[in-house]
Amino acid sequence: MNTHKRRPVFLDITRIRMPIAALVSIAHRASGVLLFLSIPVAIYFFDLSLRSAQDFSTVNSMLNSVPGKLSVLVVLWALLHHLCAGIRYLLLDLRIGLTRDAARLGAWIVFGAETLALLLVVGLLR
């Protein structure tokens, strides 16, 4: 018990240099928590949008306001990161991209793909 407690611990998060796969992993978890928290808000807007024509246009104008657009952008980023990183994990489950270099390349592809997808979706919604 005592030897366990005296083990040296080095967990200064500002001094640990994260490999790219660690950043994908942390962002996957953070985006997952954010998405969980945004479920009730999304259902609320979904509910409102189907109630009446007036409520529908209320939702429309709320989502088109500046804070609305910013919130949509953040949640959209979380969704796209979670989706892209999730696909990478499913591929890793299938033993695709398991070597160190392939895993690193995959992590870079995740960040590239989500950025591209975010730009595409924002372009689509404009």
Partner: protein
Amino acid sequence: MSGQDASGLRAWVVQRVSAVYLALCFGSAPIAWLTQRPLTYAAWRAWIAHPVVNVACILFFIALALHAWVGVRDVVIDYVQSTAARFVLLVGVAASLLAMLVWAFRILLLVPQS
């Protein structure tokens, strides 16, 4: 395998299967958006009331609740060490996910009627 021994594997399978369905939904959403263009209230409502879309949405919310449950459960178990706090948090998460699921069902099942 049964009970406690299989619960880790079961959670893993649930997470992966729900992930694939959710990914298919989010992948097809932009295509549906571009082809259907449900931009007015009437078109939006009619689209959600369409049997295929309606059932797909119900399955979507089931998959979402299961996926969120496994994920948030993992996060809580990782960061909350006290058994009592863990229990309270997990019960809270389960109850809110269940409530959100029922809420979503209510919305989706009421749409075709009116």
